[in-house]
């Protein structure tokens, strides 16, 4: 396996959890609910996935458990924010704080234990293709699932009646209620889908990316996922682009930080100068680069005001109380 292939593989693995979590939050926000608890739900998923895989020996059961725990945990948010109409921002933040603390407590015994990694699936024949073979046809199951999710979410939102109803609820909950649509019911389902996705994204971290449990191992990925949704103007394919851009720059800057300039002497003059220039930057700047680049690119592609307006859920984050 060549160096480039290895880097591309790591990029896919680093981007997958962002993609899954962001797709879940996208559906939540399209229904008009802002759940800032993604980070907390991911951590709950990560610790559950790791624990269940460890005790049963099956990473599949671990992933399934993570999905369930994520959904149940998000239900807590749903009950508070939807039924008791608490402030969504505050409730979401509380969920993140709770998830961070609770997962740390549950995972005390897991620290330092070797985990169970979900094995890759190799599609015979295709996975032997040069360069792209491993990348596209020899990945872990969650990679495939994440791509399927993008297609499924996109199809659901824009091609099905249920998706239309969900977007309508997010656009104008008052009108949706007046039409007899169960606003709260749909929002519960969306919130739980978001929770399930966040749980699975957390499990990807503890079962695929780095098969171990470390306290607070999401390291802010939940927040990145939240930001991706907004900057991608609530559109699934843009979330995919954003997640991969972020993953790519994260991995690239790690390699740049690690590489020895002397090894690059084979490069032609200008490229060598560029590499040397990048390398001379402070490492803190390089670490911040993925954030800067992703925000910049997504802001640039969402400059079409009209499209942004059409895709922004107009009732996002506002409480809904049916007047009866």
């Amino acid at each position: 396996m060549g160096m480039l292939e290895a880097i591309l593989l790591t990029i896919a693995t680093a981007s997958t959890p962002l993609l899954i979590a962001a797709l879940g939050e996208l559906v939540v926000e399209r229904s008009g609910v802002l759940n800032l608890g993604t980070e907390g739900m991911m951590l709950m998923g990560a610790v559950t996935g790791f624990g269940v895989a460890l005790s049963t020996g099956s990473p599949w059961l671990g992933a399934l458990a993570a999905i369930l725990v994520g959904a149940v945990f998000s239900l807590l948010f749903g009950i508070l924010a939807l039924s008791f109409v608490t402030n969504q921002v505050a409730t979401g933040l509380a969920l993140t704080l709770l998830g961070t603390g609770f997962s740390g407590m549950l995972g005390v015994g897991f620290v330092g234990q070797p985990g169970v990694r979900m094995t890759n699936i190799y599609i015979p024949g295709l996975s032997d293709l040069p360069l792209v073979g491993r990348l596209l046809f020899g990945q872990d199951p969650l990679f495939y699932l994440s791509i399927v999710l993008v297609i499924a979410v996109s199809w659901f939102l824009f091609r099905t009646r249920a998706g239309l109803t969900l977007r309508a609820v997010g656009d104008n909950h008052g009108s949706a209620h007046a039409l007899g649509i169960s606003v709260i019911g749909i929002r519960y389902l969306a919130v739980m889908f978001g929770g399930a996705c966040a749980g699975l994204a957390g499990a990807q971290l503890s079962l695929v990316y780095t098969p171990q449990w470390v306290e607070n191992m999401t390291a802010g990925r939940g927040w990145i996922a939240l930001a991706l949704v907004v900057f991608a103007s609530w559109r699934p394919w843009r979330v995919l682009a954003g997640a991969y851009l972020f993953g790519a720059i994260t991995i690239a800057q790690l390699h740049i930080q690690a590489i020895n300039l002397g090894d690059l002497s084979f490069l032609p003059g200008p490229l060598y100068a560029l590499a040397a220039g990048v390398k001379s930057l402070p490492s803190q700047f390089l670490s911040a680069l993925p954030y800067l680049a992703t925000v910049l690119v997504l802001v640039l592609i969402s400059r079409n005001k009209r499209l942004t307006m059409m895709n922004t859920p107009a009732s996002l984050g506002s409480a809904f109380v049916p007047d009866r």
């Binding site: 009646r161 239309l164 109803t165 977007r167 309508a168 656009d171 104008n172 008052g174 009108s175 949706a176 209620h177 007046a178 039409l179 007899g180 649509i181 005001k305 009209r306 307006m309 059409m310 895709n311 922004t312 107009a314 049916p322 007047d323 009866r324």
Partner: protein, 525 residues
Amino acid sequence: MGGTVSAHHDAETLLEVRGLTKIFGTLKACDNVDLNIAKGEIHALLGENGAGKSTLVKMLFGSLEPYSGQILWQGQPVAITSPGVAKKLGIGMVFQHFSLFEALSAAENIALSLDDGAPIGQIAAKARALSYSYGLPLDPDSLVGDLSVGERQRIEIIRCLLQTPQLIILDEPTSVLTPQEADKLFETLERLRAEGKSILYISHRLEEVKRICDRATVLRHGKVVGHCNPREETAASLARMMVGSEVKSVVRAPLEGIAQAQTLLEINGLSRKPATPFSVPLTNIRLAVRAGEVIGIAGVAGNGQGEFFEAISGEARQSDAAAVRIRGKDAGRLDITGRRLLGAAFVPEERLGHGAAPRMKLSENLLLSRHATDGKAFVGTGGVTKSASIYNAAQRIIEVMDVRKSAPDPEAAALSGGNLQKFIVGRELDRSPAVMVVNQPTWGVDAGAAAHIRQALIELARAGSAVLVISQDLDELFEISDAIAVMHNGTLSAPMPAAEATLEKIGLLMGGAEPGHAPHEGEAA
């Protein structure tokens, strides 16, 4: 009595309401209301704002739960617990506003209210066919956010008809239409009646009720105060039933020597790019308002009136300083306070949020809008406010405008819409501004208060100020304006003197006919 009317009296009852009551806190919004709607009739529900019409209708459509009372549908008692139940029974509703999804296409909006799960393409084709058969052409693929208010109402009507309802409820349907569009709507309604459908028609426009309705039920303060045949009544007798007393009519003193009067407000080639994808651009607007006159701006909602008001008031500033001139000074680049200091006063359309801060007291709201213009009276040395003099000024306004309130100095949000509007208008009138610009002066205000506000605006003008009134209510504009200009799609027609203006001429301009440049006295001559 016409033959058709008596026929309806014998017709089978479709919906019967007995003793329906709805209580909000201490307010009885509907008090023991009885209502009978026969098959194949257009039944008017009349009443002022706050009389309980909307509450009653929401209970019939399942969006509100009655406190007590009974609803019978074709003789059977029913519990309409949600709009879904109402739709299943065969009750359809065309909402006054705010019930479409702006970010979705017309077909998607229609699909949302149908339960059959048919593909969007099929629904779009059905909607298109139905809309043409009723003469209400509709493009199902267009985005609702791009459509005019009249077109949006078509979507609502088509959406309602596709559900094949027996009873169609229309809530103030003509308030957003040009007179010609309204005529088209009446034709549709008459056709529906001929097909045997029943219509509950909510309105406070008495002429149109007289024209198309077979029977009327009048509500006042939540109670049924009468039933009548509107064709046998006069507009005045219907108004008396609604209000409970005679409504003082507005007196407009003749306008004299206007040709020599000084221009106080001047708009010179004002243009504005749309601020959001759904707002209207303004194109080269010219207008002069002179001392002593009231100029009215008519137009179907959403044709740029809001954007125009923002540009005059300074909520949105212009790059061209001469685009807005107040008392002969360039004001285009000034902010709201700067323009107020030149002697202008503004009353925005939205009472809560724009006109007043909802959770602040009336006296505090007074200070907020007038701290700069009345700095000496209200603010002492070091920026300390003089609460006693502010309080007294607020009380003065309350007295002059007859604002009814529950506490000496209540929060703005505690007042009813009409009373708060009287206070906001009074707050500006109290300054005797040289230029007064008002957007929808009496929207949602009861007839008594509306007459008071209109009279006050005319008197301000006759005392030597320039008054500009933007309104969707044509009756109001005809009542108070010396000349009427029409805004359509961001352009403004030349003002037409009141003596020449007819409902038909103004209606054509509202619908986008080429503005016939009626010469404004003393302008071109």
